[in-house]
Symmetry: C2
């Protein structure tokens, strides 16, 4: 019953950091590649929806994906955004708790869960790898929990921008082309669109960032340090 993804980059880093007496062992995940098929999804289309049987795992080849949850009162929440290289659905149980949608046009590599599970049964390294990946996701979920709880709107937005700078590998690490809308950001950070706008405007005024007036999704990080500082301001 789970449908969240994790950063391959982080997962990979971990496997590389593993004490290597022998030459670095090949990542158990490459074994999956033989089962992969390619899939394209257009912008704003669903990849799977909340409650669907978890038939596949995915790796994002290009584009941006959002993991969404609709509460019974019709409120949308975005659990996370996934970018090229990130993995999706590997920590699912039988069905997907959350849905998943394409933020931009997306290309996916798709792996049938049956094949993954079958392979894992005979390959202890892969099984272990899958477990560790889930543990890493869990850790990230907790990090997010801590981030959201007890942090002000500015802290959330500043941290979001810094995260995106890292993950989007912006041209010179300063110009961000955010693939998601303001309301996506709002639903991700647990704020309203208006608050997100106001905070961005405020950061502009303070000179920490600049918003391209012609394309508002293009944001320049002017003062990395100022953002970091906003991130760690005590609240209330």
């Amino acid at each position: 019953m789970q449908a969240t993804g994790q950063c391959l980059s982080e997962a990979t880093r971990r496997s590389v950091a593993r004490p290597a007496i022998h030459p670095a062992p090949p990542d158990a995940l490459v074994l999956l590649e033989q089962f992969g098929t390619t899939l394209s999804v257009k912008r704003d289309r669903q990849i799977y929806s909340q409650g669907d049987e978890a038939g596949c795992c995915y790796k994002i080849v290009s584009g941006c994906v959002r993991i969404v949850n609709f509460t019974k009162d019709g409120c949308r929440q975005i659990d996370q955004f996934l970018m090229a290289g990130d993995l999706l659905g590997f920590d699912a149980l039988e069905t997907h708790d959350f849905g998943s949608e394409a933020v931009t046009n997306v290309v996916l590599r798709c792996f049938p869960r049956r094949a993954v599970d079958k392979l894992a049964e005979s390959n202890i390294a892969l099984t272990r790898r899958l477990r560790d990946m889930t543990a890493i996701s869990l850790r990230k979920a907790h990090a997010r929990l801590i981030q959201l709880d007890r942090t002000s709107a500015s802290e959330r937005v500043a941290r979001f921008l810094l995260d995106m700078t890292e993950r989007l590998q912006a041209s010179r690490r300063t110009v961000l082309d955010l693939p998601m809308s303001r309301s996506d950001i709002a639903d991700h950070l647990g704020l309203t669109v208006e608050t997100v706008c106001r905070v961005l405007a405020q950061l502009c005024r303070e000179g920490a960032i600049a918003i391209d007036p012609a394309d508002r999704s293009r944001i320049t990080i002017r003062d990395d340090m100022a953002l970091q500082q906003v991130t760690s301001e005590a609240r209330h």
Copy 2:
């Protein structure tokens, strides 16, 4: 790098629900029992702290445990409370992300991780079980994320009380003896102690609950339905 627990009850339910063509398979976790040693921890003492190497997994025999995290600005957050029967530390990576403390006097069954990992290497059922348990923890972390984000103080407190009613198996499911203090609850729900008090007082006035004036940690659920309703009120 993880240090959170999960409910055995939920995990068990799942393994029971597993399609059983053969007579229900014994829970792979009972295999661990042979390695178990018993450990007592006094009230308010640490079981392990943030950053400790994750040397052991635990099962709580009796008492209540809190999983705590201290942010760099000195704020305490309680990720979750664990009760008798719950498991602790099984989804850890190398070290514990969060610390763990005894809320009441606690008795634990302690399993060395080396033994667990060793056993898992030769027992695919156990490995799979550990992975599923981690996935279940992840699911719960997400549930909590959703609960905290975008919910009002009354919703949080009401949901907390309902959860506790279930988990503490109160005498006639109506009288709760909360093992944790108001400030524990506050740090768990991301509120201040004052807000928790005020919401409890409010629920009292509305007749949903009653607080024993002689022992304020004893709370009677007077109107289950009213609490459920508070839980699902839209906010803001």
